[in-house]
């Protein structure tokens, strides 16, 4: 009897956890997109007014930024410093692959960043600013859609997790 109750509790706990975990992804994506935008905004200032070299600019970006986005900036900088002759594009892509494993961003969001990284450090200031603006507007659009998805899916996944657990328990009790 008690064993059964324990099992039922465990099943519900497990499915609820899975549901919350799935909801977490939708919750984090808009936040990370927002953070990326503020990151790019800072980069724009560094490029446009500060005329800072990229590694230094990235170092400044990584300062005081926690979570996957901060790690990303840090990783790009480290890649650049670690290997002599590493191109910005290669460092960016390697770090981006790393970021993809730890963040809630979709393939589409990552492609925006990938395209932006391909132009970073390749041309003059005005051209880079143009690409940066493009990436920012794309990220903004992605954020809007991420918010919509969050509103739709977050509560659904939570509810489905708990209810699915209850259904399994009732079925097999």
């Amino acid at each position: 009897m008690w064993i059964k109750m324990l099992g039922a509790t465990l099943v519900i706990a497990a499915t609820s956890w899975a549901g919350f975990e799935a909801a977490q992804r939708f919750q984090q994506r808009p936040r990370q997109l927002r953070e990326l935008q503020s990151c790019l905004q800072m980069l724009e200032t560094e490029i446009n007014y500060g005329l800072t070299p990229l590694p230094t600019a990235l170092e400044k970006l990584a300062e005081g930024r926690e979570g996957p986005i901060g790690d990303f900036c840090c990783a790009v900088k480290n890649e650049l410093f670690a290997h002599q002759g590493m191109t910005m594009r290669a460092a960016w892509n390697i770090s981006l692959d790393l970021l993809g494993k730890h963040c809630a961003l979709t393939e589409c969001d990552q492609n925006i960043l990938r395209n932006f990284g391909a132009t970073l450090g390749m041309s003059d200031r005005h051209d880079q600013i143009k690409h940066l603006k493009l990436a920012m507007s794309q990220l903004a659009a992605a954020e809007t859609s991420a918010w919509e998805e969050k509103l739709k899916n977050e509560r659904m996944f939570r509810a489905l997790g708990i209810l699915g657990g209850l259904a399994v328990v009732i079925l097999f009790y």
Partner: protein
Amino acid sequence: MSVDLIFKIAGIGILVSVIHTVLKQAGKEEQGQLVALAGVIIVLMMVIGLINQLFTTVRDVFRFF
């Protein structure tokens, strides 16, 4: 013949209706209908043995062969 089964079916009914509502609110009506159908089938599976019993009993009582 226990009353447990009735409670079980009631529980499934409530759950399926709630899941259906949740999915509908999230704009996934197809999945909601799928869940409702799954609920019906599951309950039917549970009841089908009893229905069989009922028909056999009726046949035995009235001696249909």
